[in-house]
């Protein structure tokens, strides 16, 4: 089970790296924000898997904090975008 969770975490980590290409390429800020949203979900998935691997419950709290604050980041970004520049 351990090894399986590790493999799953590795696959998801690869996904994170791949998604960062979209952040680099854009083209618009909204595309990048969309990619950020996807990354935080994937990151939370990796963290809960690693929490099982390392049997460290604190990592589940970390996943919660990650999701909660990335929601704040995206909301802050969207409302800043609506501000007239």
């Amino acid at each position: 089970m351990h090894a399986f969770f590790l493999v799953a975490a590795t696959v998801l980590a690869l996904n994170i790296v791949a998604s960062s290409v979209r952040i680099l390429r854009g083209p618009t800020t909204r595309d990048r924000t969309t990619a950020m949203l996807l990354l935080s979900t994937t990151g939370a998935a990796v963290l809960v898997l690693l929490a099982e691997v390392a049997s460290s419950p604190a990592l589940r709290d970390t996943a919660l904090a990650l999701v909660a604050l990335s929601a704040v980041i995206v909301a802050a970004r969207i409302s800043a975008e609506r501000a007239p520049r």
């Binding site: 089970m1 399986f4 969770f5 799953a8 696959v11 998801l12 996904n15 791949a18 998604s19 290409v21 979209r22 618009t28 909204r30 595309d31 924000t33 969309t34 990619a35 949203l37 996807l38 935080s40 979900t41 994937t42 939370a44 998935a45 809960v48 898997l49 099982e52 419950p57 589940r60 996943a63 919660l64 999701v67 909660a68 990335s70 929601a71 995206v74 909301a75 969207i78 975008e81 609506r82």
Partner: protein
């Protein structure tokens, strides 16, 4: 044993969905399509992984926390992608 098999199946399916979401994010042509890939595939992926892990735990508090995580992620993704899509529609940025 059966639970283990179920967990493996669910987590594998979850990884596949997340990967599908990533491929969509990279390959789809415009913002609205990418949002479509993100909101459905990725959150379903997280949900399946969370479900797989819930089967492994005997502690109800852990199960509740995992499900709470998924609900929070769902809410955030739904809200933010609605806002992103609405603005894109208003400004015609998806063209």
């Amino acid at each position: 044993m059966i639970l283990d098999v179920l967990t493996v199946l669910l987590v594998t399916a979850g990884c596949l969905f997340v990967t599908a979401g990533t491929v969509g994010l990279l390959r789809f042509g415009d913002l609205l399509q990418r949002l479509h890939a993100l909101t459905k595939a990725d959150n379903l992926g997280l949900g399946l992984i969370v479900l797989g892990l819930v089967l492994q735990t005997s502690n109800p508090a852990v199960a509740v926390k995992l499900v709470l995580l998924w609900v929070l992620a769902l809410l955030a993704a739904a809200t933010n992608s609605a806002l992103l899509a609405r603005d894109a529609e208003l400004t015609g940025e998806h063209r």
